[in-house]
C-alpha cells in the first residue's frame, strides 16, 4: 500500500527534484536517529510527502546540508532537516503503518510470507513501542482503520465503503498536522481524497492478483474477468477522486515545496495511474514486445 504518491520526475526542475530527494534523505536520517538503522527499511515515499506537506502548511523552517547517505556512507547526498516535528511525525507514521501491514500479512498470507512477516515484526517491535509511546493517537487511528477495513471486506463492500477506512485515516492524520483550526477542514478533506486515492490505486494494482486468488477487491465484481474493462473503470474512479483531491489542494495555504507538491498532485497522480492501470497490462499482453 506504500509508494504511490510520487512526483513525476520528467516534469520536475532539477533543483526541485534534489530538494525532494533531500527530504527523503532527511526522513531517513531522522528515522535512523530515532529508531536505529534497521528502521530505515520502513521508509516510504508516501511518508516523505507527508513530511513535506507538514513542513509546507506549517511554514516550518528547514535547512538543507550536505551529508552522507545513511545506508551507504560512500554516497554523498543532501539532507533536509526541519526545526519542528514534521520528520518525527512522518517517521512515526511509517513505523506504525508498517507494523499494521505486517500484522495483516501474518493474518492472510502463505506460510513463507507469514514467517517473514513474523520475523520482521519481531525485529521492528522495539521501534513500534517507541513510536506508540510518542504518538499514541496515530496508533489508535490506524487500529480503528484496520478494524473497519476488515469489516468492509467481510461484507464484500462497494468501492466507497471499502475505501472509506484508509481515507478516514489519512484525513485524521492530515488534521493532526494542520496548522490551526482555520485550515483544518481543508486539510482533512484533502487527506480524505488522498487516502481514498491511495487505497483505490492499490486495489487497482492488485486486481488481477486478487481475481486469481479469489481475494476481496472492490473493483473485481463489476466486469468479472475482463481486465481491460476493469482497468478503464478503475481509471474513471481514480480520475474522479483525483479531481476532488485537486479541488481541496487548491484551497490549502502552502509555504514551501510548492513546486514539488504541485507536481505530485497535477502530474504525479495521473502518471502513477497510467503506470499501474494501463501500461502494466499493455506491456504484459503485447505479444511483439520490443526488448529494452
Amino acid at each position: 500500500m506504500f509508494g504511490y504518491l510520487r512526483p513525476f520526475k520528467d516534469e520536475l526542475k532539477v533543483k526541485d527534484y534534489q530538494l525532494y530527494k533531500s527530504v527523503y534523505c532527511g526522513l531517513c536520517k531522522s528515522m535512523k536517529k530515532e529508531y536505529g538503522l534497521l528502521s530505515t527499511l520502513m521508509l516510504s515515499y508516501d511518508c516523505t510527502v507527508l513530511a513535506m506537506l507538514c513542513l509546507s502548511v506549517n511554514d516550518e523552517k528547514y535547512c538543507v546540508r550536505k551529508g552522507r547517505c545513511t545506508v551507504n556512507p560512500l554516497k554523498k547526498c543532501s539532507i533536509c532537516k526541519g526545526e519542528g516535528w514534521a520528520f518525527s511525525f512522518a517517521g512515526a507514521v511509517s513505523v506504525i503503518m508498517t507494523r499494521y501491514k505486517l500484522n495483516d500479512t501474518i493474518l492472510d498470507s502463505g506460510f513463507l510470507k507469514k514467517l517473514a512477516a513474523f520475523f520482521l515484526r519481531l525485529v521492528f517491535h522495539g521501534n513500534y513501542k517507541r513510536a506508540l509511546k510518542a504518538y499514541p493517537e496515530i496508533d489508535s487511528l490506524t487500529a480503528a482503520m484496520m478494524e473497519s477495513q476488515a469489516e468492509a471486506e467481510r461484507n464484500n463492500a462497494g468501492i466507497d465503503r471499502s475505501a472509506d477506512p484508509t481515507a478516514t485515516l489519512i484525513k485524521k492524520l492530515c488534521g493532526m498536522i494542520s496548522p490551526g483550526e482555520a485550515m483544518r477542514h481543508q486539510m482533512e478533506v484533502f487527506g480524505y481524497f488522498v487516502g481514498r486515492w491511495i487505497y483505490l490505486i492499490d486495489a487497482a494494482d492488485d486486481v488481477q492478483k486478487d481475481m486469481k486468488h479469489h481475494n476481496f477487491n472492490p473493483f473485481a465484481a463489476k466486469y468479472q474477468g475482463d481486465i481491460k474493462a476493469t482497468m478503464g473503470y478503475c481509471n474513471e474512479v481514480l480520475n474522479m477522486t483525483a479531481s476532488q483531491m485537486i479541488l481541496s489542494y487548491e484551497l490549502l495555504e502552502l509555504h514551501s515545496f510548492k513546486a514539488i507538491l504541485d507536481n505530485i498532485v497535477y502530474d504525479g497522480l495521473s502518471y502513477q495511474q497510467k503506470k499501474y492501470t494501463i501500461d502494466k497490462y499493455n506491456e504484459k499482453n503485447s505479444d511483439n514486445k520490443r526488448g529494452n
Binding site: 462497494g158 468501492i159 466507497d160 465503503r161 472509506d164 481515507a167 477542514h185 481543508q186 478533506v189 480524505y192 481524497f193 481514498r196 481509471n235 474513471e236 474512479v237 480520475n239 474522479m240 477522486t241 483525483a242 479531481s243 476532488q244 485537486i246 479541488l247 481541496s248 487548491e250 484551497l251 497535477y266 495521473s270 511483439n288
Partner: protein, 198 residues
C-alpha cells in the same frame, strides 16, 4: 487586510493587463461552479470573496484606469430552487449543511416511492461525503428517470467530466485542446500502421 497583490500572486508593479490576467485566472480557479456541492464550497467562496476584494482594492488604488471587474462577482451561493418537488424540507437541510440528517430522512423513504429527485439528492449527499462512486451511480439513475431535467443533467455531466480526467481543465493548457487531440490521433494511427506492417 492582507496585501492585495500577494493575494493575486503578482508584484505591485505589475501592469494593468497582468493584474487583470491574474484575477481572471484565480477567479476561474475558485469559481463557485467548480466547488458546487463540494465539502469545501464555503471555503472556496471565502477565497473568491478575498480575490474579488483584492482586485477591487487594486483597481481603486489605480483609479483613473477605469476598468471595473465584471462577471464573476454576482453569485448567490448555489442554493436550490426550493419550490421544486416534494423534497423541499430535505433540500433545506442540505442547504443548511445538515447532510447527515438529510441522508437519514432520504433513506427512510421506501424504495417504491423513490423518484428521480430522490436519486439526485442522494447523489448530492454522497458527493459531499466523498463517496464519489455512489454519487455517480445515483446521479446517473436520476438522469435515467428524468432525462429532461436540467438540474440533474448538469450535475451528472460535471461528475462525468471528472471521471474522464479533465480535472485540471481550468488551466486550459494541459488537457483536451484540439491540437493535442489531433496529434495524439496521428500518433495512434502511426502506431497502428507500425503494428500492421511488422
Amino acid at each position: 487586510m492582507n496585501d492585495p497583490y500577494r493575494i493575486l500572486g503578482i508584484s505591485p508593479d505589475a501592469t494593468d493587463e497582468e493584474v487583470k490576467k491574474a484575477y481572471r485566472r484565480l477567479a476561474k480557479k475558485y469559481h463557485p461552479d467548480r466547488y458546487q456541492n463540494s465539502p469545501l464550497a464555503d471555503e472556496a467562496s471565502e477565497k473568491m470573496k478575498e480575490i474579488n476584494s483584492a482586485y477591487d482594492m487594486i483597481l481603486d488604488m489605480r483609479s483613473g484606469n477605469s476598468s471595473r471587474r465584471g462577471g464573476y462577482n454576482t453569485y448567490s451561493g448555489g442554493s436550490y430552487s426550493e419550490a421544486a418537488g416534494r423534497y423541499t424540507d430535505i433540500r433545506i437541510l442540505i442547504n443548511n449543511g445538515r447532510y447527515d440528517e438529510a441522508e437519514q430522512r432520504l433513506s427512510s423513504i421506501p424504495p417504491s416511492q423513490r423518484s428521480a429527485e430522490w436519486y439526485y439528492l442522494m447523489s448530492v449527499i454522497c458527493y459531499h461525503k466523498g463517496w464519489l462512486e455512489e454519487a455517480y451511480n445515483y446521479a446517473s439513475a436520476a438522469c435515467r428517470l428524468a432525462p429532461d431535467d436540467v438540474e440533474y443533467r448538469s450535475f451528472f455531466s460535471r461528475i462525468s467530466k471528472q471521471r474522464q480526467g479533465t480535472h485540471t481543465s481550468y488551466q486550459g493548457s494541459s488537457s483536451g485542446c484540439g491540437c493535442c487531440e489531433f496529434l495524439s490521433c496521428l500518433l495512434c494511427s502511426d502506431c497502428l500502421c507500425n503494428s500492421c506492417c511488422r
